[in-house]
Symmetry: C2
Subunit: 328 residues, 2 copies
DNA sequence: TTGTAAGCGTTATCAC
DNA sequence: GTGATAACGCTTACAA
């Protein structure tokens, strides 16, 4: 491996001079700079980031800890974070916690050991309690899920309004017996249930059901089957993420319930398949690109100025009306 | 940050002794070991991996460079690699190249700079040519796409047989005018087209069409529209990945072509949505868990013994027959 | 069995 | 403007 020493020797200067030329942070005679740059080019030299981060006590890596790498929402975020970080010369270590608090701690330790500059993180609710011990040792930005303690930067959706709008859309289209399926591992599900309830109240209605369950396909399926078998069957279902939606849809298929006439259906997040099923699903699309980019920017700001006061950015979703929510 | 020096001081020994206790690679007096471990526990010391990798000239990170993080196939691989690597105490840097040779080179350089122990990589065909210059500087395992030069470990699907089986399934179910849509960026698409052709030959048939296009939803859509408008319209379509399938399905919807009666449909890779659309899609499922795990094991073997002769592991897919390929 | 010290590739400090 | 040199945290000859 070619090091700064090789370049220094080739250019007939000291390693310090090479470093200065590359960092461009000190006055250098034009001719010296030229010689150094030639040597760099000739030897195809690239600085060793490990050594640099050891010396600098910081690195150009950030961590992205998500709860499910197979959830399209999080891969979209990952893509956005990667792009934004890359523009700043940072690379992204993506980790998958599977909604498991033990894995969350494991990976956060790992990233700390790896000396990452900071972490973008979507925590489970269980983890929130022990979180304070971490946010002092490295910069954090929380995404998707509000943290109970407010001492951290966050990028969130206006979940209450988004769920309100989605619910009102159902109500405006004549549905009256609404059921909601919400994730039980994060604050997100709770907030979305609030918007759901609020919209119903505005119409002087009560929900047929509001269930908090693990945000998995299987649980979405089971809960939907139960709703269909209940004496007070809903005429529309709202789900708080795309995995629950997939399960709900599977259940409706199995029970041969027609959407949107027998059952209206709305959910969160754009997916590949949401427009391919029949009818296509009406969703509240989250601005994943903007969430990822904003979180990354916030993280860089905190890295630069660790003592700045924490900032919470609230973004809005976009209602995409398709066929699953309008009776024919 | 607490360092090895702090531990040494607290235990009243030298840093070398602490290092030896932790590495467990030298005889240490039982009592000294005890004192050191106590100090480690008390100070909550964890070795700095950056420093360790600088000194050791190697790290416990591996890179995973995939062409599209949003393709369910690659996220499933990522999950498997992460699990397998984690069991060995390795972490995974996941990078996304977007089928872009420039980005491939960029990320490979990045990972090299980061001193990763090795890389698992799904390259574009364009990249194959310049690949030799890299495989000497760090261990590599290629997945999903065969490399032209054979000097590298690879984990591949038996694409020819898989496509043959998928095609034969269509033929066995009475479809005769088959069209194939294959990705144009990798060897995978080409191999799958061979199996496709071979099955047709066994039935003394020729394909209606075999197109090589960028493996994106949009291109799958456009190609399918063209097929539908052509004078020799096929009665079944095979796609070589799930993104092309998504595009094809969208086109069939827009043109109101009924599946499977007017058009049979088969493709590669299991997806969330493949079973939710109506009818569900018949696919050749790849053993993603096994691919990821095998690739990781192969990489560790090469890291340990860089001169061992390269090995290619060929795995088989599983045909999952659903409603999209059987006329009613 | 343990300590001393060199060195991994950088960059920052202090001389000149 | 430039060059020595120390230091980042760790491991490993070499000594003792």
């Amino acid at each position: 491996m070619t090091s700064i020493k090789d370049v220094a020797k080739a250019a007939g200067v000291s390693t310090a001079t090479v470093s200065r030329v590359l960092a461009n942070n000190a006055p250098i005679k034009a001719e010296t700079r030229k010689r150094v740059l030639e040597a760099v080019a000739k030897l195809n030299y690239r600085p060793n980031l490990i050594a640099r981060s050891l010396r600098a006590q910081k690195s150009t890596k950030i961590g992205l800890v998500v709860s499910d790498i197979r959830n399209p929402f999080f891969t979209a975020i990952g893509r956005a974070v990667e792009d934004a970080a890359y523009e700043q010369g940072y690379s992204v270590l993506m980790c998958n916690t599977d909604e498991n608090p033990e894995k969350e701690e494991l990976y956060l330790n790992l990233l700390y050991d790896e000396n990452v500059a900071g972490v973008i993180f979507s925590p489970t609710q269980q983890f929130s309690a022990s979180f304070n011990s971490y946010d002092t040792r490295m910069p954090f930005v929380i995404i998707d899920r509000a943290l109970e303690s407010k001492g951290t930067d966050m990028v969130l959706l206006d979940n209450v309004s988004a769920a309100y709008e989605l619910t009102k859309h159902l109500l405006d289209n004549g549905y009256r017996k609404l059921a909601g399926l919400f994730g039980d591992v994060s604050t997100t599900g709770q907030e979305r249930s609030l918007g759901f309830q609020k919209a119903l109240e505005d119409f002087q209605l009560k929900p047929v059901a509001a269930h908090f369950i693990p945000p998995r396909i299987q649980q979405g399926y089971d809960a939907t089957i139960a709703l269909l078998d209940s004496t007070n069957r809903p005429d529309a279902i709202l789900t708080s993420n795309s995995l629950l939606m997939a399960g709900a849809l599977q259940a409706l298929r199995d029970k041969k319930i027609s959407v949107p006439n027998e059952m209206g259906l709305v959910g969160f997040d754009e997916t590949t398949w949401g427009e391919l099923v029949d009818p296509p699903i009406t969703v509240m699309a989250q601005p994943t690109e903007e969430i990822g980019r904003t979180a990354t920017e916030l993280l860089f700001q905190r890295i630069q100025e660790p003592s700045r006061s924490p900032k919470t950015v609230i973004l809005n979703g976009t209602l995409l009306v398709k066929g699953s929510s309008k009776k024919k």
